[in-house]
Symmetry: C2
Subunit: 700 residues, 2 copies
């Protein structure tokens, strides 16, 4: 329907942006800082990972299917199709080049879109044990799978799922059935158009008695025709805020029979002979998966936010607007937007947050690995049979700590990343609203992270529960065995004499002040729950604040510990380290100032300290970090192709790129409208469709 846009006339091709050019401005920025960008990159990612990136990028660059130039223009159906083509190609390249899992993941990360295989690759292949039955075919992608848990009527509450799997002793099968409309599986990635099989979470029913949700493998579509099997109604759930390269799907079952073996649960299930239920041996693997997924979200949050910060920082160094009000009259030209303090307080604090989150993510993943190692070490049939951390009232302390930490940090880190991305987008002014900024579309794709794998508000209850339990144990007099209980013990011992932390002079004291405030809030919440016997529901807002305070403490602690480590000091060198310490202080003191009321209420800080933090310390840090901003964002080492942003180009050719995309790639410029309302014709190039015809079509 639309033709190609008109060719760009010669007189336009000759035009340049007014000087100084973006490339010149970024060169000046890079010259005025002595930060060793490569050293910081290697510290953030390791040399090995950077080499991997070069290697994968070179391969992807050879294939036109990875050209992203139409992404921002394509509607849902075309984007989905392009993504399917790329997903197939990625898989083919992976086989051809013998990619490792790390190679393949990195290729997906560089592509930066959720291809329709994504949930096959992660959740389907990620489900445990008995999978052997299907695993080989799934790994060879002879079957395409997905993980079908959430329903139209139930997301967070897994126990409320309505899909049933009724054991039929007569033929030893399960009957998978959707008794209601709200039982429809919903949001299931890779199910809408792609999957041939699904792991369906359904309430197991034996002899009319329910035994809770269990996973069943159900074939959904014919292996040849790819049409839904009888009594299965399946489809895509429609367009979303983002993530539209993915076919999130729904499915309803009308008494679909599956064999006994399709119940995935190594040591549990139904005894074929007795028709009796056998208890699951271990729920911890499933819970372990959730903890792992949350840890991954924490791990990636810094890098995620960094995309927005890189784009906005580079653009704000290129963009100039207004003269500084106090500039001497002889000073010519406009000021770089990055020089405005109101921009710095938004961008540089988020730049600091990228590192704060990155180091916290590393520590989180370290904790997870440590726990995995310990579990293997101490694995005995008995310990394996313990309930998962959500259920755990005694048992492995490390596991409980890991669970609470992953919940609290997932909530905090993904909130900071999501909200920070929007801050970066707005810092780009009007052009931030263009898809070519690259921030909006990426933000839209990231946003569900604040809701999935535990809603960011709901998760905070898990943290509060853990902290209350720890506090009870400390009050009881138990010897503190981990950092959390040590912090609580210390607060109890010292609360009467009060605190006097030198937050403006000592980094260690900053960490201590964050610990003090979190401990104070813990005991406040405990008093309200245990002494005042307040309803759980009435405490949810307190719990949210408590979890945030505790998680912010963890971020500050991890950031600080990273900078204390010998390897860090070696890797960064004195100049890099000095700058990183300033970023630590910027994040910690800016956050302290934002949360001021809790810091003074808990007596962790005085009002005077908070005022000084705001008016002096933070402002000075902005000034000191400003000259290094562009080099610091360079250290995140994003290839332009990954960012796909006019505003964030490494070479600063912001305006040339915006113009090129609008004028030469934009399909809307291939149509000629008939603009007059007294004419019913819409497009001059295609007079067949009129206001009237259109109306009739819309009705269908």
């Amino acid at each position: 329907m639309s033709k190609n846009p008109a060719a760009t006339p010669d007189w336009v091709k000759k035009l340049k942006p007014s000087g100084p050019q973006g490339s010149e401005l970024l060169a000046i920025e890079r010259n005025k800082s002595n930060l060793n960008v490569k050293r910081v990159s290697e510290f953030l990612f390791t040399k090995e990972e950077l080499l991997r990136k070069d290697r994968i990028l070179e391969i992807l660059n050879q294939h036109d299917v990875f050209d992203k130039s139409q992404n921002y223009f394509d509607g849902r159906i075309d984007r989905f199709k392009a993504s399917l083509a790329r997903a197939k190609k990625l898989r083919q390249l992976s086989v051809q080049n013998g990619w490792s899992k790390e190679d393949f993941n990195l290729a997906n990360e560089l592509l930066s879109e959720a291809t329709p295989y994504r949930l096959h690759d992660t959740m389907f292949l990620g489900t445990p044990e008995q999978h052997e039955l299907f695993l080989k075919k799934a790994e060879n992608m002879e079957i395409i799978g997905c993980y079908a848990q959430t329903e139209l009527g139930h997301g967070s509450n897994v126990r409320g799922l309505e899909t049933v799997a009724i054991w039929d002793p007569s033929d030893k099968t399960f009957v998978i059935h959707s008794p209601t409309l709200t039982a429809s599986k919903w949001w299931i990635g890779t199910l809408g158009r792609m999957a041939t099989h699904a792991v369906v979470m359904a309430q197991l029913v034996i002899d009319k008695k329910p035994y809770g949700p269990h996973p069943f493998v159900v074939q959904i579509r014919d292996m040849k025709t790819h049409q839904p099997l009888p009594n299965i109604h399946v489809g895509d759930i429609g367009p979303k805020y983002g993530f539209n390269t993915m076919d999130n799907g729904f499915v309803l079952f009308n008494k679909v029979k599956v064999p006994h073996v399709n119940l995935l649960a190594k040591f549990s299930g139904v005894d074929v002979k007795t028709n009796q239920y056998r208890k699951p041996a271990s729920a911890s693997l499933v819970y372990g998966t959730l903890t792992f997924v949350r840890s991954t979200i924490v791990q990636d949050a810094g890098k995620t936010l960094a995309r927005g910060v890189v784009i906005a920082t580079r653009y704000c160094a290129v963009r100039r607007q207004f003269k500084d009000r106090d500039a001497p009259p002889e000073e010519k030209g406009e000021t770089q937007v990055l020089n405005y303090k109101m921009v710095q307080i938004r961008l540089l604090t988020n730049l600091a947050a990228t590192f704060a989150l990155h180091f916290t993510g590393k520590a989180m993943m370290g904790l997870y690995m440590e726990n995995q190692a310990k579990m293997k070490q101490t694995a005995t049939p008995d310990s394996k049979r313990g309930a998962g951390p959500e259920e755990m009232h005694s048992g492995s302390e490390l596991l409980a700590d890991l669970h609470a930490t992953s919940c609290g940090l997932k909530s905090l880190a993904s909130t900071i990343a999501a909200e920070g991305l929007e801050v970066c987008r707005r810092a780009c002014g009007g052009h931030g609203y263009s898809s070519f900024s690259g921030i909006g579309p990426f933000f839209a794709d990231y946003l569900p992270t604040t809701t999935w794998e535990g809603d960011n508000y709901m998760l905070t209850q898990q943290v509060a529960r853990y902290l209350l339990k720890s506090a009870r144990s400390v009050i009881k007099g138990d010897t503190p065995t981990n950092d959390t209980t040590k912090v609580l013990r210390n607060f109890l011992d010292r609360q009467d004499m009060g605190a006097a932390f030198d937050v403006l002079g000592s980094d260690t004291d900053i960490v201590a002040a964050y610990a003090w405030r979190a401990a104070y809030l813990t005991f406040e919440a405990l008093k309200r729950r245990d002494e005042l016997k307040m309803p759980w529901n009435d405490l949810l807002v307190d719990f949210y604040r408590l979890s945030k305070a505790h998680s912010q403490y963890l971020v500050v602690k991890n950031f600080h510990a990273t900078l204390q480590a010998y390897e860090t000091r070696q890797a960064l060198g004195p100049a890099g380290l000095d700058l990183m310490e300033k970023l630590f202080r910027l994040w910690a003191l800016h956050t302290l100032e934002t949360e001021a009321s809790e810091f003074y209420t808990s007596s962790a800080c005085t009002v005077r300290q908070i005022q000084l933090a705001r008016t002096n310390a933070v402002m000075n840090l902005l000034e000191e970090i400003r000259p290094h901003a562009v080099r610091l964002v360079d250290a995140w080492d994003f290839p332009d192709w990954q960012l796909d942003s006019s505003l964030g180009r490494y070479d600063g050719k912001v305006y040339e790129d915006m113009f090129h995309r609008a004028s030469e790639l934009n399909p809307l410029n291939g149509i000629t409208v008939d603009p007059y309302p007294n004419s019913d014709v819409l497009y001059k190039d295609d007079q067949s469709e009129t206001v009237k015809d259109f109306a009739r079509k819309a009705k269908l």
Copy 2:
């Protein structure tokens, strides 16, 4: 390429959501409150406006072109086309039915999309005076116009525009020219594909001397062929975060001649005989336009936020998830999500904000009208010749106050509305991410409001400048003549004895506490600027806080004044008024608690008061308002067709509607993929395009 989705099988059609049904739950909600919804609606909008809505809706409902069912599925080109068809139809209906301007605006508001005529209707027809030359044709839509101010390189800073209009004395014409790429006009609504004419802001140059930006009417496209005229390169700027029914455009000029008369400036311009510049008689009309547009944004902010609050509140009343932790074991079923305090603190505070903003918007528009009336009354040739408020150092005090108020409230109100919409979206859990929620797409369309007509951060400098000036006058001993100076005077008189406001017991004291804090911040900022001689740039963050504090005071003051007014008490009746007073307290105390550190630093409140506000007052208010939540959102009186939301349906049939849209309207369900990566075929229904072909196509 895609066919219609497969028909819904009969066994699916018979399914219902699990009980209780959404319609039952909403009926219960509506029964348990005695709020007179109609009375509140009439108070918010007037009876006359509600009747107008009924009348317009009835007309629109008769035309299929206004069917919205494909909106969320359509890609950019189809959405644009649909919007063009609707825009034409609206115009035709307007002529046929003899609609007033109010009728036409309301029809657009109900349609809720930025049609491609929007900038013709507002900005082009809105530009002043000499328009007579073009106005008649524009009004008849024989020419389609737009207002071309911002450029690729300049948004906020109008004086930095690069497009030039060089006076040619030889033939008495202006030569419109784009000397650089960054001079390209950019973001111009209605220009991309639609406009035949543009009002182009260009730097007037006479005899090599610049005279600043002036507006010129330039014909852009041929009236018959609609092709660009020679030496004009024009097009659409590409996809955006939202607003994709609008063809925001770019245009470059290569020495395009326009006649003398096309310079739009009644008493200014170039003298044809002497070739000399004539000074503009009045800049205030242009500035008046900006103030009017900002006032409109303030006026609409409450209604805008209300869309999200209505949708989320209804859905959270229908959605049930988990049992309350403290619920007795015999209690069956799950809890309505709206019962969770963590949801209430997000939704009910935003519900309170809708009214706070609505009443503030009315007051803002009242102030604007008052000023308009005064200007007419006192209009003399001299006063007409004064500079606009941005420039004004003396002159009309009301005008200066109006300007500062419109800047501060525009910034605060649109920030609250935009951020509140996203809070509402997340409160809907996973389904909030679906386009069918109706919040995401609307949020995306609203978002530029935080940037245009003055960036929300930049505008706060205007407010600070006004407050500093007012404070200097008060210190000098000038007699306070308006509320701002009275507040500042009162603070100066009483600061040594301190404040003791009963914010928990007296509504009047709440208002006074907000005034006190704003005055404190004003004098703090003044000290730093005038005594410590700090650079303007170093004070921008302080100014932002100051503007926010002052504007929050205005909101609280206006909300309170509205509830004190005799007409309000008559209109709402005792029950409605009592509830509205609770909403006032909820907004005021929740905001106070959020901004706690400024309230205690200024001694407007004690730490104890802030703690009590949070733990007692706000929590109790949530409890008291909760039973009326659904009736309160009903009072906003949005027709379902306007909201276009599955989650926000008046009848509560949330799940049926989600399912219907996904299963029966979704075009992606018309395609059958070939899901296996070892096959290069993408779609089974159309094997012509393969991974390889696709790659070649993308390259073009």
